[in-house]
């Protein structure tokens, strides 16, 4: 191998290493979406709850709709940033088959009710608990949003602060599926 060929080989190796390092570095500062993925493309765990208006929320009865399942809490500032957008989506996409469901992971239902009123939430909101959290792989950090398709299958998970346009894009893709 000539000296020039050796140098080119080293060049390629160094470039590959630099690209790998760059990818690792970029990934380390990018928030994780779709983390554990354990529920992804599996049937969404079924649950029934009574919402703050006294109505029954039964996930199984929502087959045929796209469900945005939002785990939130009053102490989660990022969750409250998302709420007006979820209200807007329920208004805009409800006729196309979207159903937003809010699950409060608060310890105190009274504070959750206050936020529900404050943000004029136009979708059912119910209290969660550790059992429901565990069903969904452990709600160990908020916000946490799942998208469930018309067949009741989990299609996306968004953990932490998420660009809402990313959620909306996937939501629209699911609404387009029939």
């Amino acid at each position: 191998m000539s000296a020039d060929a050796r140098l080119r080989a080293v060049h390629r190796l160094v470039m590959l290493g630099a690209l790998l390092l760059a990818a690792c570095f970029a990934a380390s500062v990018t928030r994780s979406t779709s983390a554990a993925e354990s529920l992804l493309n599996k049937k969404a765990p079924e649950f029934t709850r009574t919402d703050f208006n006294g109505a029954r929320v039964d996930l199984a009865s929502l087959r045929g709709k796209v469900v945005l399942l939002d785990f939130w809490a009053t102490w989660c500032a990022s969750c409250q940033v998302e709420m007006p957008t979820f209200v807007q989506w329920q208004r805009d996409y409800g006729s196309r088959g979207l159903q937003v469901i809010g699950i409060s992971m608060d310890d105190d239902p009274a504070s959750a009710r206050r936020i529900t009123t404050k943000f004029h939430l136009n979708y059912p909101v119910a209290m969660g608990d550790e059992k429901l959290g565990e069903l969904y792989g452990g709600v160990l950090g908020l916000p946490l949003t799942y998208l469930i398709d018309r067949n009741g299958k989990v299609r996306a998970k968004f953990q932490g602060e998420t660009d809402l346009k990313t959620i909306e894009k996937q939501l629209n893709a699911l609404l387009a599926e029939h």
Partner: protein
């Protein structure tokens, strides 16, 4: 050839830094400023990294800290750091009272580690007020576990010891 190599590596490095900066800025835009007494107000010297705490949990005697969760009780019930206790949400008056009662009998030099992990670090409403309370009470050896994203991704998913239940 060598010049080209240096130039290409430099370009990749600059692109990585620019991408990282863009990601950070983008992730923060539209979310407003962190609230007062947020976790960001805690001095860096008082922070403990997850791997450091994991190491301390395996220590014995005086080196082993009292670990207190000062966030959501519901999240605590799903998973908490093995051996830790629930001490009330730091963002609420009754939570701070619970924390105060828990530490009241302890010597002021006690090694205490606080954690929450409810939300991304700069958004956590609990650890800041809890840390301030202990400092105001005169505790001199208090650390706060730095959980960048949440307890799930920064502790549980890394395989560090966890327990369930209230």
């Amino acid at each position: 050839m060598r010049l080209s190599l240096v130039r290409n590596v430099g370009t990749v490095a600059v692109l990585a830094v620019l991408f990282a900066a863009h990601t950070q800025i983008h992730s923060q835009s539209g979310w407003g400023a962190p609230p007062p007494e947020s976790a960001s107000s805690i001095p860096t010297a008082q922070l403990l990294q997850p791997e450091e705490l994991n190491h301390l949990l395996h220590a014995s005697g005086a080196d082993k800290p009292l670990v207190l969760q000062v966030g959501s009780h519901m999240l605590f019930a799903q998973a908490h750091i093995a051996g830790s206790e629930y001490a009330g949400a730091g963002s609420q008056a009754e939570g701070l009272k619970q924390l105060q009662d828990r530490v009241a009998p302890l010597p002021r030099k006690s090694f205490i580690v606080l954690y929450c992990g409810c939300c991304p670090w700069s958004r956590c409403p609990n650890v800041g007020p809890a840390f301030k309370l202990l400092r105001d009470l005169g505790f001199t050896n208090v650390k706060v576990l730095y959980l960048a994203n949440n307890l799930g991704s920064d502790w549980v998913d890394k395989g560090y010891p966890v327990e369930r239940g209230r």
